[in-house]
Amino acid sequence: MTPALRKVALSMAAPLLAFGVAGLVTTLILLGAGDKPADFWNTILSWPENRNLVNILNYSAILYLSGLAAAIGF
């Protein structure tokens, strides 16, 4: 693996790992509570309709400003 490629892979590894763990924990909680994880994943991973896409963009813009405000101090 070239150093540049490895750098990209390493920087992507942490977020991917985190989402994998979070997905696993969520699935376990759903199983424990007696809900069907398949229903959950089908809903979450289905492609959003256009009006939902707009909502997502609107909310991201607001969250982005909020994240930026917090990040200035970090």
């Binding site: 390493l10 590894a13 942490a14 977020p15 790992l17 985190a18 989402f19 763990v21 979070a22 997905g23 924990v25 969520t26 909680i29 759903l30 809900d35 069907k36 229903d39 959950f40 089908n42 809903t43 979450i44 991973l45 289905s46 959003p48 309709e49 256009n50 009006r51 939902n52 896409l53 707009v54 909502n55 997502i56 963009l57 609107n58 909310y59 991201s60 813009a61 607001i62 969250l63 982005y64 400003l65 909020s66 994240g67 930026l68 405000a69 917090a70 990040a71 200035i72 101090g73 970090f74």
Partner: protein
Amino acid sequence: MNLFNIGVEGQYIVATFAAAVFAGQAFLPGAFNTMATIFVAMAAGAAWAGIAGLLRVTRGVSEVISTIMLNAIALALVAYLLRRAGSREGQAIVTDEIPESSWVPNISLFPDSVTKFFGLGVLAVVAGVAFSILLNRTRFGFNLRATGQAETAAVASGVDVKRMVLYSMLLSGAVAGLIGMPQLFGSSHQYGSTIQTGIGFTGIAVALLGRNSPWGIAAGALIFAYLTEQANPLGIVAGISPDIIAVTQGVVVLSVVIAYEVVRRYRVSLEQQEVAQALSEEPEMQEATR
């Protein structure tokens, strides 16, 4: 610079309220009112954050504690002032509506969609660009990063740490003041007791997820917004409470902190191996050249 502004939520509430009251008075016509209001929001957010900044530099009060406490005070203070400045509308108390000439038109992204993109959503792009220029291309940004990474080195090179703390607190508050603007000018047009809360706290999670880089925060914000929006129909479609997604988001933040540390250690051990390998090869090369 190791400054934890946990008070984004309070700054956002105070700033949005101040902005709504100011815009509702319509001191200025049309777009001038809009621009002045955005300025008022930034000033109000900065002022609220400035309290914590001043306490930190003059009295050494930890900004983590003071900003958390200021969140509670902000909520109570605005609730109190809202009864003075606002009027009752159904179940909620609201401020005077912003005159229609000052509204910012929303952008229709899809012809078949009933929802539209907030016109002031572009503030996010503007703020993102300004943030990366400030951090990477200015002396202030350099000092800010230097103070965060090695405070003693920064002090030795003449950085006034107290001033940097105060400035970054004010700046953080000013950006927090912008959070409410897209919604205020795009859909609500007034401040009401039904204002969306919790955005400031989610922002901290987004910043952690994005490692404080402008692109990282953008990715984090998109993912969190996606999860929240996609979880909405969970109750109807699958009979699962949408609250589960907040658990997922929380676990993401918790595990991303751990994952970054794991990856950092792996990277360090890789580098050590490389250096060790390079050093062990070196004597042979010297032999060969001899």
